[in-house]
Amino acid sequence: MKVIILLDQIQAGLGGKEKGDTPLGGKKLAMGAADTIDKALRKMDSEIIGTFYCGTDYYQENKTEVKRKVAKMCEKMQADVVIAGPTYDYPDFSTMACELAENIQENTAIPVVALTAIEKNEALIEQYKAPLTIVKMPKKGGTGLSDSINHALELCRLKVANEETSEFVTQYCY
């Protein structure tokens, strides 16, 4: 599988909350938190072909443009699947991830898997749990991170292979 991952500036290793103005960018390798996921992917003969990052404040101010560019670039790079997150319980990042995921799903043929914690995100998850598949994950500093990453990757595999996902979704997603 060729995987693209969407992260905010913190998870991409580009600084803390104060760097929310980081513009949309990307690298053709696994950055920051994506590195952990890349290691797991390589065991499945898959890899991260691109890390897209965007500061959460920048996203808020340039939503339309970021949404369009992210979807287009996913298509251009011919990703098999897109992972939005892991967003933990960061509300701004979780919102960005869900909105970008929905946009990709609506405007391309590429499947998307999101990972979000329920804490601080109840309303968001309520809104997006129907259109998206959002894998359950712990809040920042919570337990079960490694399991939820495995669940997300398994869901990626199922989606790319066009296999039945409904049972998996009821068990591990919101």
């Binding site: 913190i10 290793g13 580009l14 600084g15 960018g25 390798l29 920051g32 251009k76 500093g141």
Partner: protein, 438 residues
């Protein structure tokens, strides 16, 4: 190995993290933490670690000036037992879904029911409360009373033992009547407890809890193995993405709290400081720049690493790192689920704990004075302020450098790998994704 560890650790961490009693203890102490920090500043000004400080101000402000400051610090430090009872009963009540203000009020009353209110001075008895009962020595009693009183209160609420008010009565009034029978039950139980103890050889609940629980736990907690275990578990959990200290604190925080308050009281009274392994010891002399002592790691990243990713992150994270904020590193490097960095991330704080413990035991650095500094106070400064001696800063500096040496080979390993990836990617095509193309 990682999988195995996770299988063993996860269930324990989840149990501890979700346990409502332990969570309430932690939350309860957090409620009173701001008060302790604020009044600590007054204590520190009154006892600043510069020779001649007190005399200097006495010449200007008069000899009573330290009393002005100790009036403020006493307002918290002489009542930590009562305040712990207040904070924990509030947190526990809230976590149990009760009206927290009521559970908090009834816990304070229960505490006072068990407190002796007669002081014998010579042959005369006067009505008064000794702060001895309400201060650091009463912390464990305070915790117990908080938990027991809220449990009794809940017992009554669950059974719906309340006086029903007719419809239309304002909520404040009906809530007050709701609390009446449960509060009555709590008071009755503590009334009986007080009688029970007065008939026993302990005479008071305070003596009972202090001798049977607080003193032994304090002894066990005030030891090098306890501090080593604390940091080892906390750091190990971080490597799995779990906020380690929130788990370990749920077990250790009452003990560290008592030890710290003991030192603080001694510091205020200008008597020798009794304990080494206080909260400050853990906060100020075992990790620098946050969990894992990542300030050392950051310095290596900034100075010797070559890959763009590591270097850039070092630049961005160094300033927050100096003030103890390491979120960008924990998630951005990342530390979480990264087996290479996990090794030094655990070794450095544990080794620091060992060295600091031995240095304090040898008396090379004076014990920590218990003054709670804001957690953002940078090392070097914090070492000096917490011990009143420059040797504290030297110890911190030494451990910071030692951390650099330990982190070096591990981060270099990551750095080399990243550098290879980056050059490879740069040779193949441009590594950056240009979003202007779409």
């Amino acid at each position: 190995m990682q999988k195995k560890l996770e299988q063993i650790l996860m269930p324990i961490a989840i149990k501890l993290g979700n346990n409502v009693v332990l969570r309430s203890l932690r939350d309860g102490f957090l409620i009173i933490t701001p008060l302790i920090i604020v009044t600590s500043i007054f204590l520190l000004i009154g006892n600043f670690p510069i020779p001649g400080w007190a005399e200097f101000w006495s010449n200007i402000l008069g000899p009573d000036w330290t009393e002005w400051f100790s009036a403020v610090s006493n307002s918290v430090f002489s009542f930590t037992g009562l305040l712990a009872c207040f904070g924990i009963s509030y947190a526990y009540g809230k976590n149990r879904g009760l009206q927290a203000i009521h559970t908090s009020a009834i816990a304070i009353i229960s505490f006072l029911i068990l407190t002796p209110t007669v002081v014998t001075v010579g042959k005369k008895s006067i009505g008064a409360i000794q702060t001895m009962y309400l201060g650091p020595n009463g912390i464990f009693l305070g915790i117990f009373i908080a938990l027991v009183s809220v449990e009794i209160y809940r017992f009554a609420i669950k059974r719906n033992w309340r006086i029903k008010m007719p419809e239309g009565v304002p909520p404040a009034v009906s809530e007050s009547f709701d609390a009446l029978l449960p509060s009555g039950l709590v008071v009755l139980v503590f009334f009986l407890i007080r009688i029970g103890f007065s008939l026993s050889s302990f005479e008071t609940a305070y003596n009972f809890i202090y001798t049977l629980l607080q003193a032994p736990l304090k002894g066990a907690g005030n030891s090098l193995p306890s501090a080593l275990l604390y940091n080892f578990i906390a750091m190990l959990l971080w490597c799995f993405g779990i906020n380690g200290p929130t788990i370990t604190n749920s077990v250790w925080s009452p003990i560290f709290f008592v030890l710290t308050q003991d030192n603080l009281t001694a510091f205020q009274n200008h008597v020798p400081l009794p304990h080494i392994y206080t909260q400050q010891f853990i906060d100020i002399f075992t990790t620098y720049g946050g969990g894992g002592s990542t300030l050392s790691l950051l310095i290596v990243m900034l100075t010797v690493c070559k890959s763009k990713r590591v270097k850039e992150l070092g630049k961005l994270a160094i300033v927050p790192g100096i003030f103890g904020i390491n979120e960008p590193i924990i998630f951005g490097l990342p530390v979480v689920l990264n087996p290479i960095i996990a090794i030094p991330f655990i070794i450095v704080p544990v080794l620091n704990t060992l060295i600091s413990g031995l240095v304090f035991q040898l008396g090379w650095v004076p014990y920590t004075n218990g003054v709670m500094l804001p957690w953002t106070t940078p090392p070097i400064i914090s070492g000096w302020l917490s011990t009143g001696s420059w040797t504290g800063s030297v110890l911190q500096l030494f451990e910071l450098v030692l951390g650099i040496l330990i982190y070096y080979p591990f981060i270099k390993m990551m750095d080399r790998q990243y550098l290879a990836e980056e050059t490879q990617a740069a040779m193949a095509t441009d590594i950056d994704i240009n979003f202007d193309e779409v």
